[in-house]
Subunit: 265 residues, 2 copies
C-alpha cells in the first residue's frame, strides 16, 4: 500500500502555529519522522490563510525538501497556490492533491500536472453536491479517469479518491465507498484508489480504531494507496497484516519482519 504522509497539514494546531511563525522546526521533524516510518510521499498542506496560501505552500515545499529526499504531495484546493508552489519542487514527480471535475479547477490542475509530470489525486467531486452513493462515486470516477487519460495522463499516475464522509452523519458512506473502490478497480485495471482516513470517524470516539477498521476493509476491496499518518503504529500494523492477508507478502516475510522490528503490535 502506497502511503502519503498526512501530518504536515495546517488543520493541525502545531502545524498552523508553525506556519504563522514561519518556524520550520516542527514541520521538518514531522517530515523526517514520516519518512522514517515508511511514507512514500509527504503531503504538504498550507491551510487557508486568506491571500497567503501561495506563499505559505511554497514555504512549506522549501522547508520540507531541505530535510528529506521523499517526493512531495502538494495539497491545496486552490489552483493558484498549486501554480506558485509546484515550480519550487526539486524532487522528481510531485503528486498534486487534488483535481476535481469542477470546471476551472479541472483545467488549471490538469495543466499543472502535465507541466510538472505530476501524479494526480482525483476527487470524486463535480460542480454539484458531493457524491454519496456508490453509483454516483463510480460515475464521477469514470468521468475523471476518462477525461484525464484522454488528456494524456497515464492511468498509473491517477489516484482516485471516492471521498468517504463521516459515519456519524452519513451512516451509509462507508459501505458506498467500499463498493465504489471495488468497482473502480475492476473497471479500470491499472488505476489507483486512495482515501483520506480521518473523515470517516469525524464526530466519533475511538477515531484511530475506526480509521484503521476502514483502512483494512478498503484495502480488502482493492484500495492500494492511502493518505494517513505513518507514525500510527497500529495503523501501519494493520497495513502489513492486510498485505499478508491478501497474498501480496510472500511467505508473510514483511509481516514477520515487522513483528521482529516491533512494527507489528
Amino acid at each position: 500500500v502506497f502511503i502519503v504522509g498526512e501530518r504536515i497539514n495546517a488543520s493541525r494546531k502545531a502545524i498552523r502555529a508553525s506556519l504563522e511563525k514561519l518556524d520550520a522546526t516542527i514541520i521538518q521533524a514531522e517530515a523526517r519522522s514520516q519518512a522514517a516510518a515508511g511514507a512514500h510521499y509527504i503531503d504538504v498542506n498550507g491551510g487557508t490563510f486568506p491571500g497567503r496560501e501561495p506563499e505559505l505552500l511554497s514555504w512549506l515545499v522549501d522547508a520540507v525538501q531541505k530535510v528529506t529526499d521523499l517526493p512531495l504531495c502538494v495539497d491545496s484546493s486552490d489552483p493558484a497556490a498549486l501554480t506558485v508552489a509546484l515550480p519550487k519542487v526539486k524532487q522528481a514527480r510531485p503528486m498534486i492533491n487534488s483535481i476535481t471535475l469542477e470546471s476551472e479547477r479541472f483545467t488549471t490542475v490538469l495543466g499543472l500536472a502535465r507541466e510538472h509530470k505530476a501524479k494526480l489525486i482525483a476527487l470524486c467531486q463535480g460542480e454539484g453536491l458531493p457524491a454519496s452513493t456508490a453509483e454516483s462515486k463510480v460515475d464521477l470516477a469514470s468521468r475523471l479517469i476518462d477525461r484525464l487519460t484522454a488528456s494524456g495522463i497515464a492511468l498509473d499516475d491517477l489516484y482516485v479518491d471516492p471521498l468517504v464522509f463521516p459515519l456519524a452523519t452519513d451512516p451509509l458512506s462507508g459501505k458506498a465507498t467500499l463498493a465504489a473502490i471495488r468497482e473502480v478497480m475492476n473497471r479500470y485495471p491499472g488505476v489507483h484508489t486512495i482515501c483520506g482516513l480521518t473523515n470517516v470517524s469525524h464526530g466519533l470516539p475511538a477515531r484511530k480504531l475506526m480509521n484503521r477498521t476502514f483502512l483494512v476493509a478498503a484495502i480488502s476491496h482493492g484500495m492500494d494507496a492511502v493518505i494517513a499518518d505513518p507514525t500510527d503504529t497500529a495503523l501501519m500494523a494493520g497495513i502489513l497484516a492486510s498485505e499478508a492477508l491478501l497474498g501480496r507478502d510472500e511467505y508473510c516475510m514483511e509481516f514477520i519482519q515487522g513483528f521482529q522490528n516491533g512494527k507489528v503490535v
Copy 2:
C-alpha cells in the same frame, strides 16, 4: 455479527486438562465469561480422545448448560459423538458444528439436524482435497446449500464456512476466502457465512492482530457470523467498528455506547 464463542475447545490445554479430570470448574467459568462478553452461542468441543468422544461431548453439554441459558453449538467431526450428545441439549435450537459433503457424514448430520431442529455449520469440504480457490469454495458451498435446502433445512439456519487456511503456507487463502464469502452471500440471499479465525494466522506471530484483520475484511465482504473468542476486547471492538462502518449501527450508537462502556478500545 453473530458470535459463536470458541473457548470451550479441547485443543486448548486448560480445557483438555479439565476434560481429563472431568472437572467442570474452568469450563463453566469459560461459559459464563463468554456469555457476559456477548456470545450468541457457546461452542463445545470435546476433542479427539480415542473412543471417549461421545461421552466427553455429552458431559460438556451437561456442564455448560448448568450455568448458562445460551444455546449450544455442539462441535465434532464425529457424527457418532453428535448423535449421543445432541439429545442432552435442553435449550431450544442447538447448532451443529459441522456438516460436510463427505457422504456418510452428510447423511448422518443432516438427520440429526432435522431431528433436533438444529442450525448447521456447513464446511466447504467434500471427499477430496480441501477447496483452496474461490471457485472451488463457491462450488462446494452451492452444492451444500442446494442439497440441504432441498432436504428441508431453511436457508436462515445454514452457516456456510468457506474454510480459510494458514497464510503462512497458503498465501492466497485469505483472498480466496473473502471472494468466496462475497459470492456466496450474493448468490444465496438469506444464507449466512461463518469462519473460524484462528486458522488464518497459524504459524505466524501477532496472531490476534491477523485474526481481527481477517475478521474486519471478511465482515466487509458480507460475512455475518464468526467462531471467535468474545473475551478478546480488541476483536469485539473491531466487530463494533465494522458494524458502524457498514451502516448497520444507526447513528453509530452501539459503537459510541461500546466506547462509553470500555468495550471499544
